[in-house]
Symmetry: C2
Subunit: 210 residues, 2 copies
């Protein structure tokens, strides 16, 4: 069965989003990233910026705290006692399952690999790169900030790892969770995209692969 849905998980600054965008362009299918976030925002009535941050980075501790101390809000009446982060997780799962049902697409981030684990037509990809490489790239793309780029990367990766562990109960970046894990600094955006395209269109079938 060819792979209709491609999920891309990535280390911050590794170029995973660029890979996803390129693959979607080559396949001429929808690309979901911030668009997905917007859709979640519409469904929940939350502020888009807030969802963008909470939807992938919220630490379990933060969500416990926010659950304990948050005041009431218009949307909280729909949350059935869930923490903000848990509520967003449920909505996010539903949106991603619906998107996959609609047809071929590329989804970047948002634990889509885990959320779609029951489907047979999904190709899961992890894009990573050495921290020195990502640091150079982040500064080039986003400019300097108060903290060193290495510190920013470590913090982002740490939060993604914790979020993935909390909701998927898996190790973020563990090879076995993905069909392809690629070091973008060595493979390059274009070769990553071409490989994903080739494997998605022509996966090996059964023992003939070996």
């Amino acid at each position: 069965m060819s792979k209709q849905i491609i999920t891309i998980s990535r280390e911050f600054g590794s170029g995973g989003r660029s890979v996803g965008h390129r693959v979607a362009g080559l396949l001429n299918v929808p690309y979901y990233d911030k668009e997905l976030v917007k859709q979640v925002a519409v469904e929940t009535g939350f502020d888009e910026k807030f969802i963008e941050q909470e939807g992938e980075y919220a630490s379990p501790w933060q969500s416990l705290l926010s659950y304990a101390f948050a005041g009431g809000g218009g949307v909280r009446q729909h949350m059935n006692g869930l923490s903000t982060a848990d509520f967003l997780w449920v909505i996010q799962c539903r949106v991603i399952l619906d998107l996959a049902e609609k047809g071929p697409c590329v989804i970047v981030g948002r634990c889509a690999d885990y959320i779609l684990r029951e489907r047979e037509d999904v190709l899961n990809v992890f894009i990573h790169a050495p921290i020195s490489f990502r640091a150079d790239r982040v500064v080039r793309l986003y400019g300097e900030s108060d903290v060193t780029p290495e510190k920013r990367l470590e913090e982002k990766d740490k939060r993604r790892r914790a979020y993935y562990k909390h909701y998927a109960d898996r190790e973020w970046g563990m090879s076995q969770n993905y069909h392809l894990s690629l070091d973008s600094s060595l493979v390059g955006i274009e070769r990553c995209a071409q490989l994903i395209l080739d494997v998605a269109r022509n996966p090996e079938r059964g023992p003939s692969a070996l």
Copy 2:
């Protein structure tokens, strides 16, 4: 810099050795696997079968026990108080560093990715596949045994993971330790080999990759 040395780590039954063999053939460079084991055996005077098992699978607990209870032997006078497993590790490191120094090659297993971590000309690959796929393959290649193939695979993987953790202090199979991690059941032996060849010969250089 092109990648002269290719290390292949693999889940048992995933076809990683076949990939390594194919890559070595395509590149026309030496392939080290059991050959490496033989060379270690010659240097240490240990029985080859013993080294083959201990050299990659020995659990730290087993080696502690063998250290505590082992009787004297011809080779033990050279071990300087190291456990058998630690002694083999030291020899193995030396052999692998020497082999890499000699020139281009493919090395399968034996924590070569970690042992050669200081070199810039090494491409590290991890080959894996779903357990159901590996179980079918193991039975096809090696026949039935007293325990289920799934049980055999889990046991082998567990020991490799523990060995790698003990000596490399890293998580076995974590994407970030390899340039390419590939699901052989989907990518197939031949496509794995061709990709490795292509990336080894034409690695991206610096920021142009992204």
